[in-house]
Subunit: 336 residues, 2 copies
DNA sequence: CTGAAAGCGCTTACAG
DNA sequence: CTGAAAGCGCTTACAG
């Protein structure tokens, strides 16, 4: 039943040459090795006819690289990460690289396991939206000399490539928009993670308020526990709207918080755009389709994916010293 | 800069034993090999202290398996596939397996490349939502003796495990619901792919109409080209609603068609639930959040993932003859 | 123009 | 209770 898989040895035998010759032909070094046209053609024909594919495992063991890039995100089913993953996959594919990905659920332990897994699979480069606490593990791959690009979340202690957005400015834009609409009581609904990016989203928010002459003490900031189920979050938000009826605008710091928030608002008697302005981080179909449509801080996903891939391949082909690059991309407020 | 990676040889040297002994200890065969407690402890301590991880590439080359399952879907950024991927990832992880995934964009050529890639990486099993035309390639992995489970799409010519839903009955339920609401002119918006699953969705629809005494000739079925951009699809749908003002209910055969459809309906003067009943295949946040909420044919994703994983691991541990299993799960119409 | 041989880091049948 | 050695399928420095 299990058909025998061909090896380079089989091809060499069929073609009456050594495996060395076959290997050189397969790796495009036939010309530089002055292998005769006749032999090249003979071997290529046999390879094609038999559908021979070199065993990448053996090749990896020998060469130490794998043509695989490891991608580590918090949750691949989050549309933002799924979208980035898809873009990275396309772009890497065109250069002959594959992406393998896995979710960490924002646990440093799981991140460590994944990094170890990827290490033991000899991935050639890493793209990581890191969980807090993963610093040591990330350092270890950097010191292995592998290209590493962090995105979405930044680890300040680490001297490493990063592609992200200007979270501070994004939140600031959002508040400015609220104030421009005459709102005086904006709220921020964020997550209780101690992540630089999340902190920046809050800082931009409070800075915007301060500029508008609204005191810090008047600011409404709700930090939703990361581990909450959606149902728990909805209850929490309903409570917020009940206790603070003066809130006239809300900025949601993540797309899933915005979704919970919209569901919570449905259960109140607040009417969006009349009683309450809403802006969500990350754009998506869901905000376009909502009635009314929801304004969003759209991350430039295409540019993010481009910047990541560019840096990865720059380092993969680097002969010279690597330079750390931090790319901060602007976010566009889409008003609807 | 690049710290030296440890090998089993280094550990053996440090512990003053042979690599054979280290290997047996690492693979939990220390007891059956009667290795002394002292040696076991010494080796384990060194392994731990040095953070040694066996090179999986070498292990794969030697054993012929990889503890990796390959997942091939049409588009990982589609929420249905992203959700399934995440569930499979969790379930496989618990059994010590990793999932690697890639998107085919429904092209047989890309499917072939991916299968070849996975083959050359020696994945242990395959989970595939197959594109039409991939039959030969799938046959080749089956004849390699690897476990294969298809899902979402079925290839009738192939004698292979499958996990799917009862598409015929789902569409039939939807039509029945429309008729129960007094609708007499249901439309089906589907895709022009020649896939069994899509055909079944149409067959259930027309069967429901026929049962209600509505003639085939009166049925409105729009087949949207697969390659359409969203904008093209929206134009097409607006055209449909203009030309067939009698349509009083619509079943969308995929989640992305429903999204385009809802956007198109926004541009007409039709009011959902008043002028037009809507049911979408695949449930999601987007339908829950829409105003009004949209009824959906919810695929039992958890059950689908469970059935796939169960079959995969059953075959991976199979000592006896494998039996082909086809699991068809019921779909629930969620009326909103 | 071409090949024999070493070696990547493991596992395991065999021997003692 | 433990180890020497073969071999998985490649790549490549070296030799001719």
């Amino acid at each position: 039943m299990s058909t025998k898989v061909l090896s380079i040895r089989d091809i060499a035998a069929k073609a009456n040459v050594s495996i060395t010759t076959v290997s050189f032909i397969l790796n495009g070094k036939a010309v530089e090795r002055n292998i005769s046209k006749a032999v090249i053609e003979r071997v290529e024909e046999i390879v094609k006819a038999d559908g021979y594919k070199p065993n990448q495992i053996a090749r990896s063991l020998r060469t130490g690289n794998s043509q695989i890039i490891g991608l580590i995100v918090e949750d691949i089913s989050n549309p933002f990460f799924a979208g980035i993953a898809r873009l990275l996959e396309d772009k890497a594919y065109k250069k002959g690289y594959k992406i393998i990905y896995s979710s960490t659920e924002n646990q440093a332990g799981k991140t460590r396991e994944l990094i170890n897994l990827f290490k033991s699979r000899q991935v050639d480069a890493y793209i990581i939206a890191p969980a807090q606490g993963a610093e040591k593990d990330i350092e270890s791959i950097i010191s292995d000399g592998k290209p590493v690009v962090l995105f979405d979340r930044y680890l300040p202690e680490l001297d490493v490539n990063y592609v992200g957005i200007d979270n501070y400015d994004a939140s600031y834009q959002a508040v400015k928009h609220f104030i421009g609409e005459g709102k005086r009581h904006p709220a921020l609904v964020t997550v209780d993670l101690d992540i630089q990016q999340i902190q920046e989203r809050e800082d931009g928010f409070t800075a915007g308020l301060r500029e508008a002459g609204i005191e810090d003490s008047a600011a409404v900031v709700l930090k939703v526990p990361f581990a909450n189920t959606r149902e728990q979050t909805i209850v929490l938000l309903e409570e917020l709207f009940k206790q603070r009826p003066d809130v006239d605008s809300v900025l949601f710091a993540t797309n899933y918080l915005a979704i919970s928030g919209l569901l919570a608002i449905k259960n109140t008697n607040k009417i969006i755009n009349k009683d309450l302005s809403v802006i969500a981080y990350d754009d998506g179909d869901i905000f376009k389709l909502h009635t009314p449509q929801i304004s969003a801080l759209a991350q430039p996903v295409e540019e993010i994916a481009d910047a990541i891939i560019r840096k990865i391949f720059q380092e993969l082909s680097a002969t010279t010293e690597k330079t750390i690059e931090r790319t901060i991309l602007p976010v566009q407020l889409i008003v609807r």
